[in-house]
Subunit: 318 residues, 2 copies
């Protein structure tokens, strides 16, 4: 029997400039929202000492070639050991026989990348046209991915960054110095929110850090930081004020993220939600007025993992 291909991150990253992912990702969201994907609830394994968490996302699109299992872990103590906190792999299996086809030992980087790509796609989809500045809240790995992925899709001239630790923001500024945009570091979160109409939140906060009265008409917020039942970056009043609240997966967002928090508080109702796949397809309305407030809460769906793993696999065997 043919063995699966096994690729480490060095090899995977060397293939990434050959993959085209935006259109397949859009189609995958559409298939998902049309009920053509089988995506069970996220599997979760928690560790206390040392603290860590593992997320297992898995599923398939009907009529596709593969099913995917994605394992992504975060062990925060790894930094002290000189090890990357994110680890894991994406696995592709033949959908007809179950035979393993690809083992992508991506150290959770493909998860970060597909989150960056989906975030940028949501930002383009829902921000006002002509937007030339963005506020990125947080200065970690995902802040970098959101900036890079957004720059591929929008003519951004100014990237405003806010993070609790200014030194980390300076490091981010250096890391993104190759981008063709001015990167400004800010210390007043309220001011940054008030002065930007495209906001991307990437922190792992467990309480709301962005207040509703800071958010101006015409703002779009892409929230990618909160992907668990506990995490939360936005005052839930922002979601009730929003004209459009977009989930990547309504069932999953009911259990995780900003939407979960707002539903729990009763500030929004499930029937007010739309999925990003519905807007991509045109079966739900996206922004139709300059002054609307829109929120896209992305918790990460296994169809995204399927799309990126399949794209890497196809390039690898070509």
């Amino acid at each position: 029997m043919t063995q699966p291909i096994v690729l480490d991150w060095e090899k995977i990253s060397s293939l990434l400039d050959q993959i085209e992912i935006h259109e397949p990702m859009k189609q995958a969201f559409i298939e998902y929202s049309n009920g053509n994907a089988e995506i069970p609830p996220v599997g979760e394994l928690l560790f206390e000492e040392p603290p860590g968490e593992v997320h297992i996302k898995y599923g398939y699109i009907k009529g596709g070639s593969f099913y995917v299992i994605k394992i992504a872990s975060g062990f925060s103590g790894n930094n002290q050991l000189g090890v990357k906190p994110g680890q894991g792999m994406m696995l592709l299996f033949d959908i007809v026989t179950g035979i393993p086809k690809a083992i992508l030992i991506d150290q959770a980087n493909l998860t970060d990348l597909r989150t960056g790509i989906a975030g940028a796609m949501a930002s383009v989809l829902l921000a006002n046209e002509g937007t030339e500045s963005v506020a990125i809240i947080g200065n970690g790995v995902q802040a970098r991915y959101q900036a890079r992925c957004l720059m591929e899709l929008m003519p951004i001239k100014i990237i405003n960054v806010w993070g609790r630790d200014k030194e980390k923001s300076k490091k981010l500024q250096q890391d993104l110095s190759d981008l063709d945009a001015e990167l400004l570091i800010h210390e007043d979160l309220a001011d940054v929110i008030k002065q930007n109409k495209l906001i991307i939140t990437t922190t792992s906060s467990k309480k709301a850090i962005i207040q509703s009265n800071w958010v101006q008409p015409g703002t779009h917020i892409t929230a990618v930081g909160s992907d668990t039942p506990e995490k939360c970056e936005l005052d839930s009043d922002i979601l009730s004020r929003a004209d459009i609240v977009v989930a990547d997966s309504i069932p999953q967002n009911q259990l995780r993220g900003e939407i979960h928090q707002a539903l729990k508080k009763g500030t929004i109702q499930p029937n007010e939600l739309v999925e990003i796949g519905q807007i991509f397809e045109g079966s739900a309305q996206g922004r139709n007025h300059f002054d609307q407030i829109t929120v896209a809460d992305l918790t990460g769906v296994a169809v995204q993992d399927l799309v990126i793993a399949e794209a890497v696999y196809k390039v690898a065997i070509s």
Copy 2:
């Protein structure tokens, strides 16, 4: 970063005669029953066309070195394609950092083996001493594993086999001809049950095939066939008649297998259940009379996958 070792089934199977698994498996069941293992509910992915199912079992023992994720699939159409129906892999990750350490592409064989080992351990634990004949119900892969694993632990002289398809039973007879026991093929299921006091059920039946009035005093039944919410081999009255009903995992057996079926019908109550780890440890009573009827319903717990994957890994790197 050191890459994980990747072993295919050919390599894994060449290592198996070097592993000692019974004592670690016993200890793992004890740890599990003592609450020292973190085992989330089984993940399940189902396929309609062609039909297939994937089970994802995962977890860790506190204080151990690894967490495990086990993927085992069954696609029944594979036979027609000349492909083994069972596929999958076992993955070991460092419990401190999440770094992947071992990828065992076992085609679900390690799952079959650890099921065979656990079944044999339950049979030895609960059958009357001096038992020299066994009835194995079913003639598939797991019937073979149960026979081989039992022969390592008990002085069995006669293996009685019953299966719907006599030709398959003859094939099993050939496959097990190296065993130091007489293998007899039977056609009357009632007779086989009545005449044996150690019964191992290995079918994938979805309705009870073994009636309660066939089961004689002093009988022990190890039921390994039914591992899903739908599957069922035993008339639920057998469980209510039994003096001891043993689960491998009470939470999991409440959702899957014979115990799940009997609880649903109300023929047994949750407080009547004990776990095999409790009997191994001595904190619950095992058989204490020759005429008792005992049932061990094994649905397969991730600690078993952890033990066997760890054993293979240790031999592989030694």
